[in-house]
């Protein structure tokens, strides 16, 4: 099941550049939360703080509190945290040296699962959830790189699902895809929220409107407004949100 997240006073730096300036946000379980905002507003950094990926880069710093179902993520070690909080990146990044099958089970196998039956079952389940099974079931031992861009992205989603996280972070997962592949991914996201809490960064406001239950608008490292998607798009409280979604800037 999905877990809830609560974020208090989250600040993040890259070098001397303060990217997040005190974010407070509650994220409900089993919902799709969209993060929108212009380039450089800190939305990617924000999701990368949730699985502590931001800290893996040199000269970065984070301050504040993030808790997962009431428990601070900083009490967990980052490697363990990332099994609970999965991530899908903007650009599909299958492991080039691995087959489709090996890609999907990489997270399990490299964390020590050896049972072939379990691995196989998990691979099929994950690929089915990612709506990729029918397209690849006859060529699981082909290289992951042999797939099209949209298929590669779904492979990466399947790979993230196989680890059975409870939160799924998606950093513009469809921005490099064509409209058909994007539709696939969006349908997928809608169906996945039954099981996962999903946070999706997107540049595309129509996309946020289509798939998100709640939407958060970020600007210059601050959270301007967070509320039910319909409300953000039809009746925003903040002037800046209105300006952004009506296309006056950004």
């Amino acid at each position: 099941m999905g877990q809830s997240l609560s974020i208090h006073n989250l600040e993040a730096w890259y070098g001397s550049n303060k990217i997040l300036k005190g974010i407070n946000m509650e994220i409900r379980p089993n919902q799709v939360t969209a993060i929108i905002g212009p380039s450089g507003c800190g939305k990617s950094t924000f999701v990368r703080c949730i699985n502590r990926m931001h800290e893996t880069l040199p000269r970065t710093r984070v301050r504040g509190e993030i808790s997962l179902d009431g428990r601070s993520i900083y009490d967990l070690n980052p490697v363990a945290l990332r099994k609970t909080v999965g991530m899908v990146f903007q650009k599909a990044n299958p492991f080039p040296s691995m087959s489709i099958y090996d890609n999907v089970v990489a997270g399990l196998r490299l964390n020590g699962m050896k049972n072939k039956q379990e691995l196989k079952a998990s691979a099929e389940k994950s690929l089915r959830m990612a709506a990729l099974w029918d397209e690849v079931k006859d060529r699981l031992n082909y290289s992951g790189m042999s797939l099209s861009g949209g298929q590669q992205q779904r492979l990466c989603i399947a790979r993230a699902l196989a680890v059975e996280p409870s939160v799924l972070l998606m950093d513009e997962p469809a921005s490099a895809l064509d409209p058909i592949a994007t539709t696939h991914i969006e349908e997928l996201i809608r169906s996945l929220k039954e099981i996962y809490t999903i946070i999706i960064v997107t540049h595309n406001m129509q996309q946020a409107a289509r798939i998100a239950d709640s939407t958060a608008f970020f600007l210059s490292g601050e959270l301007v407004e967070h509320g039910p998607t319909s409300e953000i798009f039809t009746n925003p409280h903040d002037k800046r949100t209105e300006d952004y979604i009506t296309g006056r800037f950004g």
Binding site: N51, M53, T56, N93, F95, S97, M98
Partner: protein, 278 residues
């Protein structure tokens, strides 16, 4: 009207490039052709099977030198390849920007450029003199010192070619950094690393200078790694500078074998690791 001038200039430049390329090919094929024509006549099965004969006596072979070279290259590889790869992993994955790493990189570059005879002298005074005798171990060690910087730099380049996004994908799955490097990053760079290793092996298998006063050479089979051992380049050097026609012939044959070995290693590096069949 300017068009004509442009085309004329274009053709002239094209001509210059072609001539330069042909000039570069002359020494390349000259050396190869010379060695092949001179070496082929002295090359026979006996050359690969037998020990050298006495001074000036025709016949005999360089079996001990061929095996000696292979043994020392093997020793060098066993030391140089792992040390080189592990150092490169340290430099790219764990500590890429510190002063220490910059120092290591600088030292590596300097070491790559050091004349190999100096490596020989150092091993001679620090290993051979201390142990009291020339040996295959000392020879292999000096070759490994030439290999290490080559391996570090080639492996580092290959690891840098692996996109950061691949590492992040590993971390994001809850895979530890160490496992990500060993099971994901290294296999992604494997072909390039192997190619680098092959080229480093090819490079040291022809080294003569550092072996002169570490392995010394031997007219017979070495019975252990602790005694002087024959090596192809050393044997070629000794035979080619001898006054005996038969030995000079053998030096050509030895050169041909050595060149073939290097060409073979280069071919393996180019073909075998080029594509992974799926």
């Amino acid at each position: 009207m300017n068009d004509r001038l442009r085309r004329y200039r274009n053709e002239m430049m094209m001509g210059i490039f072609t001539v330069a390329t042909l000039l570069a090919l002359i020494p390349l094929f000259g050396v190869l052709g010379y060695v092949v024509t001179n070496g082929l006549s002295a090359l026979n099965l006996e050359f690969f099977m037998n020990l050298p004969k006495g001074m000036g006596t025709p016949g005999g072979g360089m079996a001990n030198s061929i095996v000696g070279t292979l043994i020392m290259v093997l020793i060098a590889s066993l030391i140089g390849i792992p040390v080189g790869i592990l150092t490169a992993i340290y430099l790219t994955e764990y500590d890429s920007a510190s002063w220490f790493s910059m120092g290591v990189r600088f030292a590596t570059d300097v070491l790559t450029g050091i004349p190999s005879i100096i490596v020989g002298i150092v091993i001679y005074s620090s290993v051979v003199l201390k142990m009291g005798h020339f040996s295959a171990l000392a020879g292999g060690l000096s070759l490994s010192i030439i290999m290490i910087p080559l391996m570090i730099r080639s492996t580092e380049e290959m690891l840098k070619l692996v996109p950061h996004s691949i590492r992040e994908a590993g971390y994001a799955l809850g895979i530890s950094k160490g496992t990500t490097i060993i099971k994901i990053v290294l296999p992604t760079a494997a072909k390039g690393i192997m190619t680098g290793a092959m080229l480093a092996v090819a490079r040291v298998s022809g080294e003569t200078a550092p072996l002169l006063f570490t392995a010394l050479g031997n007219q017979y089979w070495a019975r252990s790694l602790n005694e002087p051992i024959a090596a192809l380049p050393v044997q070629i050097y000794q035979y080619a500078t001898s006054p005996y026609k038969a030995w000079q012939q053998q030096a050509w044959a030895g050169s041909l074998v050595l060149i073939s070995l290097v060409v073979l290693l280069n071919l393996i590096a180019r073909c075998a690791f080029r594509s992974r069949s799926n």
